[in-house]
Amino acid sequence: MNLLANLIPVSAEIFLLVMVCFILIADLMLTQSSKLFTYLLVQLTLLGCSVITVGTHEHGVTYAFNNMYVDDLMSDVLKMLSYLGMSMVLVYSRQYLMLRGLFTGEFMVLALFALLGMNVMISANHFLTLYLGLELLSLSLYAMVALQRDSAIATEAAMKYFVLGALASGLLLYGMSMLYGATGSLELGVISDAINQGVPNKALLAFGLVFIVSGLAFKLGVVPFHMWVPDVYHGAPTAMTLLIGSVPKLAAFAFTVRILVEGLQGLEHDWSSMLIILAIASMALGNLAAIAQTNLKRMFAYSTITHMGFMLLGLISGGIEGYGSAMFYTVVYMMMSLGAFGMIMLLSRAGFEADTLNDFKGLNQRSPWLAFIMMLLMLSMAGIPPTVGFYAKFSVLNAIVQTGHTWLAIVAVLFSLIGAFYYLRIIKLMYFDAPESHEPITYGSDTGLLISLNGLGVLFLGLMPGTLMSICAVSVQQSLLLP
């Protein structure tokens, strides 16, 4: 394979990297007042990336760089969604960060580096590439959380995130090294074949799997490896929380699927029983702990834990239905969490964070439209039709029932019932209570438009979910070579 053929699948990433470097240097020349130029450049970069990703899309699965890298439908779909998500993150955060003096070139460059890391994770076909992408993403995120230097709580969150993140990376690496020892390769396809043909040292394989699953669980933030999630979500400036809580979930999904399904399909029996425990524990603890929170960001952190647990149920079920539904769930979750955190930032002002439950009191009287949008988002998170959150839950439940784990579906819906309570509580606060503050809500027309589209999108996809569902199903089918 010649160099050019190798470069085509990674052209979007190369473009992104070049642009990041360019923006990094260009930004140095700009004064603080003309940061808007950097911002526009970043948005253009995202647009450029999506054009390249679409343009270089090829049917089927293409490998590059000695099978280190893979380009398939799933990776292209997830990358496109990541660009979209990242672009939304930047629109939502612009005003918020400007008011806090954080709207700097560093923020945008780090965000793009994180995106590059995600792209690499999404397309990796080799343990080293996976790890490379993961670290690029994680290091950027650590730095972003710490960007607000003078905030003690943000620094603490960054520390916590870094230490636990490093631990998780260590676990993953350790697991990878064991699998390497057992199978003699770091390439996912080769590992898969080796496992299917029978590995002499089963114990080593099992140990490796345990470490890998723990590392993944850390990164996904599922119980019992969830401790960092609430603290980081709470401590980080909301713009960073928005970033951490939304787009990287797509990469985490791809990462998990690549390792567990493409690499370790032969051990499905083992890892799926581990995931069942993780999933149930996450749904239980996430939902119960969320009830007790008064800080909205913490509450959404626990709700993330729950949602990730629910998503795991799709992976457990396996097959097109299972993986497809898990992907659909992740995409839908990204959309909902973008909207929810976006709303927190929209309601925040200079020197004021609208991140406690009380800040949403009486929103319907202050701004009926925003309250309506937030209601749609919350109903969607609770999984109540006609919003798309219902179909996310529905498709996962369908996958579980198909595999015969009906009891697991019942457990899942019972925990969703508990979850519904704290989402409803927000609707209750917005509609039934009197507002605590009558400060006018001011927001830019771009954020206003985006949040409206976001909320209505949740409704529209709830009325017409078929296309997105099919896209997810087809992409996992083609990429994982499922029958």
């Binding site: 219902f390 369908n398 819906v413 309570f421 409803l424 209750k428 509609y431």
Partner: protein, 496 residues
């Protein structure tokens, strides 16, 4: 379809579109516009349901006015609508009550008028969707979605304890719905990939699975009916809901539960239904007798009528689970009649509450002296609630008791006691509120019904008496569908 128009779709979406329009009128500055739009929407919404009645073919039990379009093709979920004799009447009832509710809230609701009116219109469309849906996921979507407007209605315009009540209402019903969802997905896999309710009716199911599915459905529908012992949300919700909310709750929300038994539980799991019929009848009888006694002890008017509703709905569930034509037709007539009567009683209480801001029976007395017209209407509805012959309630109750006596004398005997208890609590309520000397200064200042209220009351009075004297047009429509259902339920669906 009539003239190629999708009639059922129109009955669903017309109110919803009007609801959105009403919502768009914005804040209370435009309240008069919102009211007029809501009235137009509800009246049009009612008029478009009339073709269903006029064009209905009473000779067949198959689905009519069918619409079938692909929706989520991946899961073979379709936009599949159709009505039979059972569901058609409820669409009419619902659209009729939407008009009543809009008129009833005309002056009473002062704050956030557009949201109030819009919520009822949206809900009206969704309830029509529930009755019209033949695809179970479509049904589920409407079924769940209609909780949201009700949640808001109780929570925003309700009484002092409204938050507790509305949360309880939502979570209780959600519990049932979620279990039903799992059952629906299970059935989807059993039928080999169809969510059509009619396909569910045909598929063979082993006994254990039938029982589990029945239980899942039971949670969903029994909570809505509500049956003893999952009835406790209803008095709370009723007491705190605004008048319009109470009317829709009593007249339609409860019927949706019983409709679910008819459309889902009985035909899909006939063997489990027979197996567990004893339990269902026992729970129904407990509701009839025990809840009737509970109603006797209430000091709050709305609570009293709420308990009376539970007791009357016990008749409905008993009628369904004795599996004969009398019982089932009686149950359906009782459902419709109870819609009128309970709706009317809540409106009567609303009339008093708007003037006195108290639902406490002890605060009243001698109202007849000040509101003679009201007293007359209230008398009629109170009589209907106690099942007086000549009113609509008598027909249904009589038929259910007739059906029950064929099965077991003691069922009929226990159910019959309701005629005594029902009369006791209703008439005692009437006596304490209406008769006697003027109790206090506030009663002294009461004014009689205005033209708007007289209009509503007369409409309902005509229907209550009309249905009591001449129920044939209704039972004719029900007949074919009920017979078909009974035949269907009599066949075992166990796999051979």
């Amino acid at each position: 379809m009539i003239f190629g128009l999708p009639v059922i779709s129109i009955t669903i979406w017309l109110p919803i579109i009007f609801g959105i329009l009403v919502l768009a009128t914005g804040d209370d500055k435009n309240a008069p516009l919102a009211r007029l739009l809501a009235l137009a929407g509800s009246v049009l919404g009612f008029l478009v349901t009339l073709p269903l009645y006029i064009g209905f073919d009473t000779t067949t039990s198959s689905m009519q006015f069918v619409e079938h379009h692909g929706w989520i093709t991946r899961f073979n979920i379709n936009y599949y609508l159709g009505v039979d004799g059972i569901s058609m009447l409820f669409i009419l009832l619902n659209s009729f009550f939407t008009v009543i509710v809009v008129i009833a809230g005309w002056r009473v609701i002062e704050k956030r008028v557009s949201q109030y009116m819009a919520a009822f219109l949206l809900m009206s469309g969704m309830i029509n969707g529930v009755f019209g849906a033949l695809d179970s996921i479509l049904f589920y979507v409407f079924w769940e979605a209609m909780l949201v407007p009700m949640f808001i209605i109780i929570g925003v315009w309700g009484g002092p304890n409204r938050i507790y009540a509305t949360m309880k209402f939502f979570l209780y019903t959600l519990l049932g719905s979620l279990l039903m969802l799992v059952a629906l997905i299970y059935l989807y896999n059993l039928t080999g990939g169809s969510f059509s309710i009619l396909d569910f009716h045909q598929v063979a199911i082993p006994m254990t699975a039938q029982i589990l599915i029945f239980i899942a459905f039971f949670f969903a529908f029994a909570v809505k009916v509500p049956m003893f012992p999952v009835h406790t949300w209803l008095p709370d919700a009723h007491v705190e809901a605004p008048t319009g909310g109470s009317v829709i709750l009593a007249a339609l929300m409860l019927k949706v539960g019983a409709y679910g038994f008819l459309r889902f539980s009985m035909p899909i799991t006939p063997d489990a239904s027979h197996q567990l019929a004893g339990v269902m009848i026992a729970l129904s009888l407990i509701a009839i007798v025990y809840i009737g006694l509970v109603a006797l002890m209430q000091t709050d008017m709305k609570k009293l009528v709420a308990y009376s509703s539970i007791s009357h709905m016990g008749f409905v569930t008993m009628g369904l689970f004795i599996f004969n034509a009398y019982g089932m037709e009686g149950a359906l007539l009782q459902m419709i009649s109870h819609g009128f009567v309970a709706g009317a009683l809540f409106l009567c209480i609303g009339v008093l509450y708007d003037r006195m801001h108290s639902r406490n029976i002890a605060d009243y007395g001698g109202v007849a002296n000040k509101m003679p017209v009201f007293a007359a209407f209230f008398m009629l509805f109170a009589m209907a609630n106690s099942g007086l012959p000549g009113t609509s309630a008598f027909v249904g109750e009589f038929m259910v008791i007739m059906g029950a006596i064929k099965v077991n004398f003691w069922y009929a005997f226990a159910a019959g006691t309701t005629l005594i208890f029902g009369a006791a609590y209703t008439l005692w309520l009437y006596k304490r509120v209406i008769f006697g000397k003027v109790a206090n200064q506030h009663v002294e200042e009461l004014t009689d019904l205005n033209a708007r209220e007289v209009l509503i009351m007369s409409l309902l009075a005509v229907l209550v008496i009309g249905m009591g004297v001449y129920p044939l047009p209704l039972s004719e429509i029900l007949h074919a569908s009920v017979n078909d259902l009974l035949v269907h339920v009599a066949h075992s669906k166990l796999p051979l």
